[in-house]
């Protein structure tokens, strides 16, 4: 009996949290852009985007290098090592770029956003803002939302570009793949609107989802230290699951049965 009761209760809680997060998103999105909001957004882009650059670029470099290394050992069996270029670039542009960037972004920037907003809630800064007739959604949540949505595709592009260059370093300079083949077969295979643009669309969707989850978890957390820690963990876990699930759906839509 208790089990059914709990099941019903948790379902209703989930549905109401989806509704509450949509209300929060609506309140944060439809903020009229003023010059002050743009400055806040740029400040948040520094926190969310620029400070993630190091981890994104280093990860991109290493992932590109590993892909070139692993790909070479398999392709050389078929005499197809010239196809290393398209292998590395298509994997990065279509899948690894958006997904790994989003996972790293959720872990680094998402958890930071949740902790920051959760602490603001716990120390009653959000209620004080309301008391001063400043809309906390517009002042605090909206800049962070737009900063995240704008930074994510930028980070994903930087990740893919660094990965391709890393693949070049390992493939051409260390393993002896012909430089001309690396770039020319890549140019013949990679298409702008099918591969690069689809990767950008994916990263925008992932950025939106990660930032939305992070902001909502912070905004609705229980205002104690345990509550903040739980909210931060849930941000990372839920964002990662959502990213991987959405990746499958988007890939099926973009590259699947058409």
């Amino acid at each position: 009996m208790k089990f059914l009761q709990n099941l019903g209760k948790s379902t209703l809680e989930t549905i109401s949290s989806v509704g509450a997060s949509s209300i929060m998103l609506y309140g944060a999105l439809f903020a009229l852009p003023t010059w002050k909001n743009v400055r806040l957004t740029i400040a948040q882009m520094h926190v969310v985007g620029v400070q993630s650059l190091l981890i994104i670029m280093v990860s991109g470099l290493f992932i590109g290098m590993v892909m070139a290394l692993q790909g070479y050992t398999i392709l050389v069996n078929y005499g197809a090592e010239g196809s290393l270029g398209p292998m590395v670039s298509l994997s990065l542009l279509r899948e690894l770029g958006p997904v790994v960037t989003a996972l790293l972004f959720a872990g680094r920037a998402g958890s930071a956003l949740t902790a920051e907003i959760g602490l603001m809630k716990a120390t009653e800064q959000l209620s004080s803002l309301e008391m001063m007739a400043v809309d906390p959604l517009r002042r605090v949540v909206s800049p962070r939302f737009w900063a995240g949505v704008i930074s994510m595709p930028m980070l994903a592009l930087i990740f893919s570009a660094t990965g391709i260059l890393g693949g070049h370093v390992v493939g051409v300079d260390w393993l002896g793949v012909d430089a001309g083949s690396y770039w020319s077969i890549m140019q013949a295979t990679v298409e702008w609107d099918k591969d690069v643009v689809n990767g950008i669309i994916k990263s925008i969707v992932f950025g939106l989802v990660v930032v939305w989850i992070a902001l909502y978890k912070g905004y609705s957390c229980i205002p104690t230290s345990e509550g903040i820690s739980k909210a931060t963990t849930e941000t990372v876990v839920f964002s990662s699951l959502a990213i991987l699930g959405l990746d499958f759906i988007l890939t099926a839509l973009m590259f699947g049965i058409s």
Binding site: I42, G49, V50, L93, L157, I158, I164, L165, A188, E191
Partner: protein
């Protein structure tokens, strides 16, 4: 308040993104002859198009001169028809006697159409120069391929099963 330092860092971040996007757009993605612009259309019929797809290339001795734009079945004969778009740079270059065949790049690679330029009869050269048949519409007398014409000399794609069948029959004859 955002300091100058923050603004500089965000500016560098955006600049780095633009550099990455340019790298991807110019060096990585397809900078094929889709930017070429003007093209003229030719038609051809094949018995079997094999693995030919729209946007497959048309090559003369390995040089890409055009792309396949449409593949469809002729309504009456149910024979595959292929519509090609050749770059206008090569207008009045290929004679009417040119041949098209469906070839495969590499062993397992993608299929493309190879154009083998034909020959021009000496009396046709006279016709081109003196009567100027290639300069005024309609171009039906022009011995070069012009827009909308059909290429008649076509070789279909090699189908593996037919090849095996031929081989087995030839073995059986011995």
């Amino acid at each position: 308040m955002i300091s100058k330092r923050t603004e500089i860092w965000v500016g560098l971040f955006v600049a780095l993104t633009i550099a990455a996007t340019l790298l991807l757009a110019l060096r990585v993605a397809n900078q094929g002859m889709s930017g070429g612009g003007e093209t003229y259309k030719l038609n051809a019929r094949f018995d079997n198009i094999g693995g030919l797809k729209p946007r497959s290339s048309v090559k003369v001795g390995g040089v890409v001169v055009g792309r396949v734009s449409r593949i469809y079945l002729d309504e009456q004969d149910l024979i595959p028809m292929v519509e090609l778009e050749i770059s206008s740079e090569y207008l009045l270059t290929f004679p009417d006697t040119s041949g098209l065949s469906i070839l495969t790049s590499g062993l397992l690679g993608e299929q493309f159409i190879g154009l083998q330029p034909g020959f021009i009869f000496p009396e046709d050269i006279v016709m081109i120069e003196e009567d100027k048949v290639c300069e005024t519409a309609p171009y039906t007398d022009c011995p070069y391929l012009t827009a909308g014409e059909e290429v008649f000399d076509t070789k279909s794609a090699l189908v593996l099963e037919d090849l095996i069948g031929q081989f087995l029959f030839s073995q059986g004859d011995e």
